[in-house]
Point group: C2
Chain length 399, copies 2
């Protein structure tokens, strides 16, 4: 590698543990229970319907041309109609179609972060989100999350202590990845106030908001910000239809649209056209709302199943969160338990998860882990949690 004239930022590119675990999984027993990836259940993806729609949409002669960089007009129109009446309602001049939520984060950090800039992330936070900020050489400040999401009082203290305003604040306000926690409306309002005081960009990443199965809806940061140019919202179809689509959107101040287009052209020219058409057809057919209802019921059952299994197998050995939606439980063991070691053992015992430290650049969570309850059936969830206890006993010694 010494001959290669790499850029200085290249040393800041962090590999995701998710990738490693994918490779690792390939080497493990075939029937492994997969609590690792944050994917919808395969049986929850409407693949038969999508295949049926694809037979028509992907036979159109213009389905393979470049799309407009801001998104295919048909998808943009269908999406605006779909969002009307939701907490994410928006307008055409704020909308840019992206290659999933991840590209929304890449665009936001590329447009706003200079090397050395302070960027606030939740602790724990989404691995690839903090990785993107680091790829633009941000200096990260981790702010703890509790049952009500990011601790906004601590945010203010930590920024005061840092002695400078953050350039950007990266928040996952609803059914947070990985904790499952949601910010209360009071904290959301206070976060927007602090953003305004500091002149920071607030990146509102909310991929799970429509997967609520308990409690009552809280307005999105987008809605509460009421058009404030400092709030940029990142959304995606990954969790509500399928992550492989790589179709999402940004909702941002109209003054940013041309810059976002310019930046996206220099990333991937446009988002793939055939799947924009496929998603448009899915929305036009009115399928999303029914699909969300089905998913919400399934994920509620799966969460309850996973919590009950954890109670059975880990009642006195761990504690876990109680999310009102989304995909994830966050499990914390006593301090002596090393979940990276447990990860290796668990793979051998037939269950996969993501160790807590993957969600913290400073590795603040050596004794925690994330479980995705969305991808597995209730039976498999019970089997997976039982295997996790087997792995725990192998590692720690039976108790």
């Amino acid at each position: 590698m010494s001959r290669l004239p790499l850029a200085s930022r290249t040393t800041d590119l962090v590999g995701s543990v998710i990738d490693s675990s994918t490779s690792l999984l390939a080497r493990q027993r075939h029937d492994i229970v997969r609590f690792a990836m944050g994917s919808p259940a395969a049986e929850a993806v409407p693949s038969q319907l999508l295949g049926h729609l694809a037979a028509t949409e992907l036979a159109a002669p213009d389905a393979y041309d470049y799309a407009a960089t801001e998104g295919d007009p048909r998808l943009r129109e269908a999406l605006l109609a779909e969002l009307d009446g939701t907490t994410d309602r928006t307008t055409p001049e704020r909308l840019l179609i992206t290659a999933g939520g991840m590209q929304g984060l890449d665009l936001a950090f590329k447009l706003f972060v200079d090397p050395g800039d302070l960027v606030v992330v939740e602790s724990p936070t989404y691995t690839n989100g903090s990785a993107t900020a680091m790829s633009y050489q941000a200096q990260l400040l981790e702010v703890p999350v509790d049952e009500e999401g990011m601790q906004v009082d601590r945010l203010e203290e930590l920024v005061t202590h840092a002695g400078r305003a953050p350039k950007a604040i990266y928040a996952i306000p609803t059914f947070q990845n990985p904790s499952g926690a949601s910010m209360s409306i009071e904290r959301r309002r206070r976060l927007i106030e602090l953003t305004r005081r500091w002149g920071s960009l607030l990146i509102d990443d909310d991929p799970y908001g429509r997967l609520r199965f308990a409690g009552t809806e809280v307005p999105s940061l987008h809605e509460l910000a009421d058009g404030d140019p400092l709030v940029l919202s990142v959304r995606t179809f990954s969790k509500i239809i399928g992550p492989g689509l790589r179709v999402g959107w940004i909702d941002a101040d109209p003054a940013l649209q041309q810059l976002l287009i310019n930046a996206k052209q220099a990333m991937d020219t446009c988002t793939n056209m055939p799947l924009q058409r496929l998603v448009a057809a899915f929305l036009e057919g009115g399928h999303l709302r029914d699909h969300l209802t089905t998913q919400q019921a399934a994920y509620r059952e799966r969460k309850l199943t996973m919590q009950a299994a954890l109670e059975d197998w880990f009642g006195a050995l761990a504690r876990w969160t109680d999310p009102e939606g989304g995909f994830f439980l966050w499990v914390t063991f006593q301090e002596s338990v090393d979940t990276e070691a447990l990860f290796e053992q668990a793979l051998a015992d037939g269950v996969a998860f993501i160790p807590g430290n993957a969600f913290s650049p400073s590795k603040f969570f050596p004794n925690a882990l994330r479980l995705c309850f969305a991808s597995s059936t209730p039976d498999r969830i019970r089997e997976g949690v039982a295997r996790l206890r087997t792995a725990y006993d192998h590692l720690v010694g039976a108790v």
Copy 2:
């Protein structure tokens, strides 16, 4: 915008004229002849066949999950088999599936370019290619292109004059965009020698190489480099199947693979899965080679038609290139002709092209333009060139 805490690089984000022309086109007469975008002919895209394959591939339950970041194993295998026996033959540990060729360029510049680094580009060059380098704050050095592609002697002189080695050299060696020129084998060898002497990264962007309709094949830079880690090759299905797919690949030294994976995860997590499966099915069915044969014949006829029409309408007023493949003719007028003004007039007269200055960060080509002959039927090509003459007469005055 003044309230927004933009990064310093954001001022270096250049909007592509292609986007402007797309928006412009929307406001113009409906039957405009489109010589602007570098897209395959809509009738050359095998959309019926792809739609048929999609009905099966896109109904599979796992088609909407995350793909491995390095690419879906099925596509990787089909692609390796397809490349076997071509000048782009490669091996699994060198291969990374990307969101089209454009993401290949974004990855290369992101991994290698620090602010202020010298990056060589051809003059003229691909607009979004130079835009990507600028988005990482490269300082660009333009090296002239003639009938045999980049003038490698001039490259050496210009680098000597600059007084420092380039960090990267961005080359489109075959049927170059926008000139249509191809580098001779002598120049290709010499370019690799200079790359080695300087320790630069050579970005070998070759989207059109398989669309040869005249002359004899020249080995790719990838083949000539014979595994040199300083050569990174960027390829795409955009021009040989359809650009809307956003599926391409990088062929690079194995030591770079993990860094490329890390960087790509922080851009878009993975390339979309359903269209990776669709392209895999297309390759597995043995459809690509037949399709290339059909396309090559069509594009040969279209090039000859466009050259004949130019001879009829612009015989004494302009000169143009004679490519042996690809999509483009480069047309040069006398110095007094302003092709940006001609662009506006041409849209009003029903034909679109890209002005020469769009292909040069220093705007060295005010009296040249790019015509894409691939997208239009021979009849439309004749009509479009006649309209171009009408626009010319409107602008310059009939001669």
